[in-house]
């Protein structure tokens, strides 16, 4: 809950409010220290955000305000703009920090607690169930795919003096067949799982154990967190320097 709020707050911070972003970074680092996560783990994981940063790169060139200089690339004349650069830096930092918040959450919280939390946030039960199944069977599916690939590798021998491997079209066909067979296997498995659910009395509605009540400490922590975020947002818009 707090994590979603933090990400939202980060997204709402104005362009160029580096100081506010630094505050969030410090809070995050403190959080990961409390959780005894190596700081490197978060930083490394946050490279997931790299593609989003890449998307923001053109902004440096398409914004027109405050030109800083230009380069000629053949027919292209690219002009750096100060405004674009600031937007880019902000987007990069924001996405980086948002991913770090999400990572902090997933590293510190067991998956089933996250599912409980989603249920508590009134996400439809069927969606929560699907996410749960996905998480459970991703590993099983991965193992099955690995077995298929191992079987292919085991038979991908090359006779001496013959160029092995076959044409690209042939390889594509083999891969296609593998994907198809993986799909069929998954489909059959889903039928067996459904039979197993029916056998234990499932009749179309998911029921769940009662949830652990939210403790007062957690309410207080949530309150403090939301309050400080609001202060930070307000400060960033009103007092702190930004472009």
């Amino acid at each position: 809950m707090l994590a979603v709020a933090v990400i939202l707050a980060i997204a709402l911070l104005p362009v160029g409010s580096y100081l506010a972003l630094a505050v969030v970074l410090i809070a995050l680092t403190a959080g990961s220290l409390v959780a005894r996560l190596g700081p490197l783990r978060l930083v490394r994981g946050a490279f997931v955000a790299a593609p989003f940063m890449l998307v923001a790169v053109p902004l440096v060139f398409v914004r027109t305000g405050d030109p800083l200089g230009s380069v000629d690339l053949g027919p292209l004349n690219l002009t750096f703009s100060g405004e674009g650069l600031r937007i880019f830096t902000t987007i990069a930092l924001k996405s980086w920090l948002s991913v770090q918040v999400a990572l902090l959450l997933t590293f510190t919280t067991p998956f089933h607690d996250l599912l409980d939390a989603l249920r508590e946030l009134r996400l439809p039960r069927i969606l929560v169930a699907i996410i749960g199944f996905m998480y459970r069977y991703l590993a099983v599916l991965g193992e099955e795919a690995q077995r298929l690939m191992r079987a292919r590798a085991a038979r991908s021998a090359v006779a001496e003096g013959v160029a092995g491997g076959g044409t690209i079209a042939w390889r594509a066909r083999v891969t296609g067949n593998m994907v198809g067979s993986l799909f069929l296997r998954s489909y059959e498995r889903s039928e067996r799982i459904y039979a197993a659910m029916q056998a234990r009395g499932f009749e179309g509605t998911f029921r769940h154990m009662e949830l652990r009540p939210i403790r007062r400490v957690e309410w207080v922590a949530l309150g403090i967190g939301l309050a400080s975020l609001s202060v930070l947002l307000l400060a960033a818009h009103v007092w702190l320097p930004h472009a």
Binding site: P110, F111, H112, L115, G132, F133, Y135, R136, Y137, A139, V140, R189, R192, I193, A195, A196, M197, Q198, A199, R200, G201, F202, E203, R207, H208, M209, E210
Partner: protein
């Protein structure tokens, strides 16, 4: 109400079943199993063993014939109660364990039967204790060994407090230690037990009665000691001596 004598008794009469594609898997099965009996169901692949097992709690419905559990016919409104009476343990524990945690999975049956939450917690604890997996409640099924997963799979039906336990290939894929633990577990069960298996040593050790199926019918039924000693009979149906 299920009376005490009939509890756990299984009666199958003239059972026929054809799959939607027309393949006739069962061609008139007759079988009576008394409450508390331990029976092996053996026979070559494709003999109809798994198909028969799926009839015992109404996943498959008979084309012709009847199946009764503890005096209740497996049909219509009875099916819900029969699913609580008959615990089906599937061959692949990854099919049986579909919940995020062991606790959720063992609680699934009683939860969907409408048992109260206090009672569920008691049953989960009891079931995990019975299979030697107490303390694994918060673990993820994918983080368990295959032997542990099989035992949790058994706990998921024990928590429903069934009178009949049905196993499909329980010893497949187990290492010797896992197999030993399974055998001890099976020996300790007081419910009616039906085990479909190719593991003839398991049969000899745990199950006093053997039923051979082949081609969709029961071809032999008797004390395991006699059947497992009849080389000619075993060979006719693609089986081997333990």
């Amino acid at each position: 109400m299920i009376d005490a004598i009939a509890r756990g008794a299984v009666e199958i009469q003239h059972l026929h079943y054809a799959y939607p594609d027309g393949f006739e898997a069962l061609k008139g099965v007759d079988l009576r199993i008394g409450g508390g009996e331990k029976v092996a169901l053996v026979g070559p692949n494709g003999a109809g063993k798994s198909t028969l097992l799926l009839h015992l709690n109404g996943i498959n419905r008979p084309g012709h014939g009847t199946v009764t559990i503890g005096g209740m016919a497996v049909e219509g409104a009875n099916v819900r109660r029969i699913r609580a009476e008959v615990g089906l343990v599937f061959q692949d524990p990854d099919d049986q364990l579909f919940s995020p945690t062991v606790l959720d999975d063992v609680a699934f049956g009683p939860l969907h039967m409408g048992v109260s939450h206090d009672e569920i917690h008691r049953r989960v604890e009891h079931a995990l204790d019975a299979v030697g997996m107490a303390g694994f409640e918060r673990r993820l099924p994918s983080h368990l060994s295959i032997g542990q997963r099989k035992r949790v799979a058994l706990a998921t039906v024990l928590s429903m407090d069934p009178s009949v336990l049905v196993f499909d290939e329980p010893s497949a894929g187990l290492d010797p230690r896992g197999r030993r633990q399974l055998i001890e577990l099976l020996k300790g069960l007081t419910q009616t037990v039906v085990v479909a298996t190719h593991d003839m040593r398991l049969v000899a050790e745990v199950l006093p009665r053997t039923v051979i199926m082949d081609g969709g019918v029961v071809v032999a039924d008797g004390p395991s000691a006699e059947i497992l000693a009849d080389d000619a009979l075993l060979e006719r149906h693609g089986l081997e001596r333990p």
